[in-house]
């Protein structure tokens, strides 16, 4: 009846996951009770869960990422604590638990922090920057988000029911095969990634179609803001790479569930084929995360330097070059496979070549700042911190791209330090920059600057204190994924890394406080104009938060930095007093399709993990029925009348005029 599931799946003898899960459960229940008592449920259901508005979905993506960042961060704290202690001692966590912690940390940080964070920001911002009313497929957008949430849910369920993978974040066979991992851990891993992978693919298709087919009048490709270009490149990579992940994990699952021989030691299977396939997805994945971050910096740096982006066209070229070359370097993840010097040399050189367009970008940002009036507000702090950190990470990357050096450093902590150096330095700093930069657009008030800067400094310094020691320990021969050790030389570095983790934790706490303080002081931090940073692209041309239709009248773009041009024109000429020609606006209706579909996906995923076959059938039938019901509805759009559009727009125009007059009067 319940497949492999019985009471032994609950880890009663392991207090740590049980207490952690209990705490999470209490928090979730408390939030639910609070929301219920305040009568928020109808609002949450109608305005958020069933919303097909790209801005709302973007916010929910970012929220999911931040919650999962806490989970992945707690995993990191546990790992660093273990290694600071486990010198000549077993430490706090037994090996089978420690292995789950580092596997969960990697999986969560990449798939459920990095991905939803960048996809959320792209969702929120790109349609606004393109001057349009929504993404290409609004309901599908909601489906994509909720499927991602399903993956995150399954991973968190593994904390209390059963176990998580002990295989590392990419579940290499033969270790991940049934004979060496007989438990449900790898199944949790694979099914949650299969389901969230579909969500990511859907988001990718949606955003590529949006950028290529939905742009406002006059928004030619070479007038698009840089963030739209990096969105295009990143989502093209999603479309080309995520199916590889889906196929590879499907093969692993077939091995595990039906006794196939793709990657097994027996029957002619080839586990190195898994390495090739998974990294053919895995390396583009690095750029799927990094390119949007580069895009964020390309928005932040010009805004806070008061100058247009230096070398716009070279930036476009560099972005697209990275998009292509990222598919030609995957083998550098396993030079030690023994493919021979010629193959290794080709991939080594390709890996160094991809550093060139990235270098071009760094120079472009530096030259954008050069001669500008740089304002060091929080987003700009993250951007400058990124440039310094990312250069170091890039240089160590070029070092491990040299095959002979890689043979020595492979799977050492040096490598761990390198990829944290680029992922934290670029993706996380970029996500935080984007979060602080676009928060006023999403909610209508700024985040508190002081707490933001405090968070930046703790995170920035904490990062170096944590990861520079890992470079050193790696050079001293310490390998990754080690549960305890007895080499005296490594000990001080492990303790230093532990101290760094404390600093980074304080950084995260500052960020949480920043949000709390900002919400409390939202009236002082209110942005009434919609353009709090004196910025350049179209998302700032509408109110904060934008009305559901984004733009009362679709903007007409006359050149690069579209909104800057509009502002300049308004300052130069006498203000136009003629009202724009308001029309009725058709918007897509909200739909619970995404949420219901994800509910059935969760049921299906969970029952697949536990071999509850009848429930699998039920879940799939439910998902299909959901789509049919969706396809059967007769009214998929509603109309906002022109008078209502005009009323909303007049308020914003009045606020902008007032702000402009205030700026001019003192002079």
């Amino acid at each position: 009846m319940l497949g492999k599931l019985d009471w032994s799946a609950i880890p009663i003898h392991e207090p740590i996951p049980l207490v952690a899960a209990g705490a999470v459960l209490v928090i979730v229940l408390a939030v639910l009770i609070w929301a219920g008592a305040k009568g928020y449920f109808p609002y949450i259901w109608h305005e958020w869960i069933t919303s097909v508005d790209h801005k709302r979905i973007g916010v929910m993506y970012v929220l999911l990422a931040m919650v999962m960042l806490l989970r992945g961060g707690i995993d990191a704290i546990m790992m660093r604590t273990q290694l600071a202690i486990a010198y000549h001692s077993p430490g706090i966590f037994p090996p089978e638990h420690y292995d789950q912690i580092f596997s969960a940390h990697g999986t969560i940080m990449i798939f459920f922090v990095g991905m939803p964070f960048v996809i959320g920001l792209m969702n929120l911002v790109v349609p606004l920057q393109l001057g349009v009313r929504d993404v290409a497929f609004p309901t599908l957008n909601s489906v994509g988000f909720w499927l991602t949430a399903t993956g995150a849910l399954l991973i968190n369920i593994s904390l209390v029911i059963g176990e998580f993978a002990r295989t590392g974040w990419l579940a290499f066979p033969p270790l991940s095969e049934l004979s060496y991992s007989p438990g449900v851990g790898v199944d949790y891993y694979a099914w949650s990634l299969e389901i969230s992978g579909v969500g990511t693919l859907v988001a990718g298709i949606n955003l590529v179609t949006t950028v290529l087919k939905l742009r406002t009048r006059g928004m030619t490709y070479l007038r698009m803001p840089m963030f739209c270009w990096t969105t295009l490149a990143s989502n093209l990579l999603i479309i080309a790479a995520f199916p590889i992940l889906t196929a590879t994990l499907a093969m692993l699952l077939l091995d595990r569930y039906l006794g196939f021989h793709f990657f097994t030691n027996e029957g002619g299977g080839n586990s190195m084929m898994f390495m090739n396939l998974i990294w053919a997805w895995g390396h583009p994945e690095v750029y799927i995360l990094a390119l949007p971050a580069f895009g964020i910096f390309s928005e932040v740096v010009p805004t806070f330097s008061g100058k247009p982006l230096f070398g716009y066209r070279s930036m476009v070229l560099a972005t697209m070059a990275i998009c292509v070359i990222s598919f030609m370097v995957w083998l550098h993840h396993f030079f030690t496979m023994g493919a021979g010097p010629d193959v290794n040399a080709v991939f080594g050189i390709a890996s160094m070549i991809i550093a060139v367009p990235t270098g071009v970008k760094i120079y472009n940002w530096l030259f954008t700042m050069y001669g500008g009036r740089v304002r060091f507000e929080t987003p700009m702090m993250w951007a400058v911190g990124f440039m310094v950190t990312f250069i170091i990470g890039g240089l160590t990357g070029v070092l491990v791209a040299v095959p002979p050096a890689d043979f020595l450093l492979h799977n050492s902590l040096f490598l761990v330090a390198h990829f944290h150096n680029v992922i934290i330095g670029a993706v996380l700093f970029g996500a935080f920059a984007g979060y602080t930069y676009w928060f006023p657009k999403a909610f209508g008030f700024r985040l508190h600057d002081g707490w933001g800067k405090a968070s930046f400094w703790f995170t920035f310094v904490g990062f170096y204190v944590t990861f520079i020691p890992l470079y050193a320990a790696g050079m001293l021969g310490m390998t990754r994924r080690m549960q305890h050790y007895d080499v005296a030389e490594w000990r001080p570095w492990m303790i230093a890394a532990g101290v760094g983790t404390i600093l980074m934790t304080i950084g995260v706490i500052c960020q949480i406080l920043q949000l709390a303080v900002s919400i409390r002081q939202r009236e002082e931090l209110r942005d009434t104009t919609g353009d709090p940073w004196d910025a350049r692209s179209l998302e700032w041309a509408t109110a904060s938060p934008p009305p559901v239709f984004n733009f009362a009248v679709m903007p007409n773009v006359a050149g690069e930095d579209a909104y800057w041009l509009i502002k300049e024109k308004a300052k130069r000429d006498t203000l136009e007093t003629r009202e724009p020609d308001y029309r009725d606006i058709e918007m897509p209706r909200n739909s619970p399709t995404g949420f219901v579909c994800a509910f059935f996906a969760s049921v299906t995923g969970f029952s697949l993990i536990w071999h509850i076959w009848w429930l699998v059938g039920l879940g799939l039938a439910g998902a299909f029925a959901t789509f049919v019901v969706f396809a059967w509805r007769d009214h998929d759009e509603y109309v906002i009348p022109a008078q209502e559009v005009a009323r909303i727009d007049r308020v914003n125009i009045a606020e902008r005029r007032a702000a402009m007059n205030m700026a001019e009067t003192p002079a």
């Binding site: 290409a136 693919l201 939905l214 742009r215 928004m219 196939f260 002619g268 008061g306």
Partner: protein
């Protein structure tokens, strides 16, 4: 606003990279594309991603082709006559699917339903032959667990078969939808996507026919 920014405006700030010539001529942009174009375009991109997924299974088949683990190889197993019949069913179904699209274009519900029904029946014939082939292989001890080669074979061909099955489910839904809602605009957009999907399955089958069966028979 400061003097600096105004200065920029004076220095042709609106066109900092001197793209004016480019912008005025060929690169002019009219605004968002109509819904039909957007939907079909997005679905094309989905099909491309699906083809990437198939390419992984093709690659795995190529790598594992000779890994028979002492078991039977393709030349001992494949019955090319049955495969030729499968191919014929699928290609003809693509033709009738095209007829259904034409019927939809001229808003002929009767011919649309007939053509879709024929397409579905041909698809089912294809699936029946494939199921017979699979059952036959398993009964001869050449199931997917026998060797890495057979794992790759069953996965690649089976994945295509799953797509055809899903396609038939979709086909039935579309027949019901036209019967219930008529040729409404959104229904027609879905029909367009269905037709693209069905033809794409043909393209993949051509790959399977030549790479799996023809090349596989030579090993």
């Amino acid at each position: 606003m400061t003097d600096t920014t105004l200065q920029y405006a004076a220095h042709g700030h609106g066109d900092p990279h001197h793209l004016r010539g480019l912008q005025d001529s060929s690169l002019g942009h009219e605004g968002p594309a109509p819904k039909r174009i957007v939907t079909a375009y997005g679905f094309w991109i989905f099909l491309l991603s699906d083809i990437v997924m198939f390419s992984c299974f093709f690659a795995a088949y190529g790598v594992l082709l000779r890994q028979t683990a002492g078991g039977p190889s393709g030349s001992e197993l494949f019955d090319l006559k049955s495969v030729a019949a499968e191919t014929a069913f699928l290609l003809i179904s693509s033709f009738t699917c095209g007829l259904a699209s034409i019927a939809a274009d001229v808003r002929s519900a009767r011919w649309y339903q007939v053509a879709m029904a024929v397409t579905g029946v041909l698809g089912l014939c294809f699936l029946a032959l494939e199921a017979r082939e699979f059952a036959d292989l398993v009964s001869r001890g050449a199931g997917p667990t026998r060797s890495a080669f057979l794992s790759a074979f069953f996965t690649l061909v089976g994945c295509h078969g799953l797509h055809v099955s899903a396609g038939i489910l979709w086909l039935l839904t579309m027949m019901a939808q036209v019967a219930a809602k008529g040729f409404r605009e959104d229904v027609c957009r879905r029909l367009l996507c269905f037709a693209l999907f069905w033809h794409a399955l043909d393209i993949i089958w051509v790959g399977i026919f030549s790479m799996v069966y023809l090349l596989g028979s030579a090993v």
